[in-house]
Symmetry: C2
Subunit: 187 residues, 2 copies
DNA sequence: AGGTTCATGTAACCCGTTACATGATTTC
DNA sequence: GAAATCATGTAACGGGTTACATGAACCT
């Protein structure tokens, strides 16, 4: 079977927090910083149907009195497993080059699913991959700068800075997890 | 007719620099920081066919002696117009939220197509849109932080920092364009 | 002669986009 | 009772992904 789409994983992560309807998900994708995901019904409802067909979520119509009919979805045990396995995948160069958004999505639900220890491990792996990737970009820029127009050079510089910011963020976040761990063992 | 895909615009921009074959493009997408684009033949060759069907590029087989046959593509006048119009589009909130990559691609060929003045205008518009968008993210984080798990908070913080870095980059780049302009008028 | 690289393609599949459609419930 | 919102769907379309396929030229 195929891998789930990134939208499907976003849905699975949100359902992990609490049961929600398709419309609930659409509202989240429309009104929060998760608006990078589509809130189109033509994407959400088919995605939910696929998840259910694959046995990763279960749904039943809510039949409380006076309310509009809502189909509530919640993850199955298999769905939770699939979500966790996705989050625990090794971080590859390809992830860093082409799928940073997916990496951040994997991370954003980690506390609630695989726990703080795993989250910190994830950050360490991410920092390592970034620390190895960034120099290759800097090297390319240095070698090619003279042959590139100003806008091209600047565009590349922008990409590099973005990765550097992400590296600083991940190192800083690692510290925060360490601090919190200390606080917990003491209390 | 439909808009061209972002891959199609990347191709069009590269052909604007010099005539290239599908294989040339694949090598660029495989071996340079433009590797965010696919180098799959199943994407490149159909994209070139569509561009030709739409009259935006023209191709002819290179018939030099002793070489492997190569189909060289170059933009038509219409293709150049379409590329420039795409680059000159107004920057929207939606661009900043969902299509930053496309914005950077638009910018990266600007010197060679619409010129330095337009590039500087683009940066000003980008900085303005970012300066208006970032506070809404900060506000959301402040309001929701207490209801969010640590990893969720951090993921959002990462997104905000990325936008802040982009804003700093654009302001810095504006300065560089101003400096270069001064130098040119003086010389 | 055989392997590698060059070079160009095709076809099935998946899924997000866009647009349309329907009806119930709340609100004024 | 009209408009807005809630809520869930469907269908055509486009284009990237994956995998397969073919053959010429170059290298050893």
């Amino acid at each position: 079977m195929n891998d789930n789409s990134i939208l499907a994983y976003a849905v699975l992560g949100l359902l992990q927090q609490q049961p929600r309807s398709g419309y609930d998900l659409r509202k989240i994708f429309a009104n929060t910083p998760m608006r990078t995901f589509t809130d189109s019904p033509g994407a959400i409802y088919p995605a939910l149907q696929r998840l259910e067909k694959r046995g990763l979520v279960r749904s039943h119509v809510q039949e409380t009195s006076g309310l509009r009919r809502r189909r509530l979805f919640r993850p199955t045990v298999a769905g939770t497993v699939v979500l966790k396995n996705w989050q625990r995948r090794l971080i590859t160069r390809d992830d860093v080059v082409n799928h940073v958004d997916e990496l951040m999505l994997r991370f954003s639900f980690m506390d609630e699913t695989v726990g703080a220890r795993r989250a910190a491990q994830f950050l360490n792996a991410l920092a390592a991959e970034l620390a190895s990737y960034i120099p290759t970009l800097r090297q390319f820029l240095k070698a090619q700068a003279q042959h590139m127009p100003l806008s091209g050079r600047l565009a590349l510089e922008s990409g590099i800075r973005s990765y550097e910011t992400l590296l600083r963020w991940s190192r800083n976040s690692i510290k925060i997890y360490k601090k919190r761990k200390k606080g917990e063992t003491r209390s």
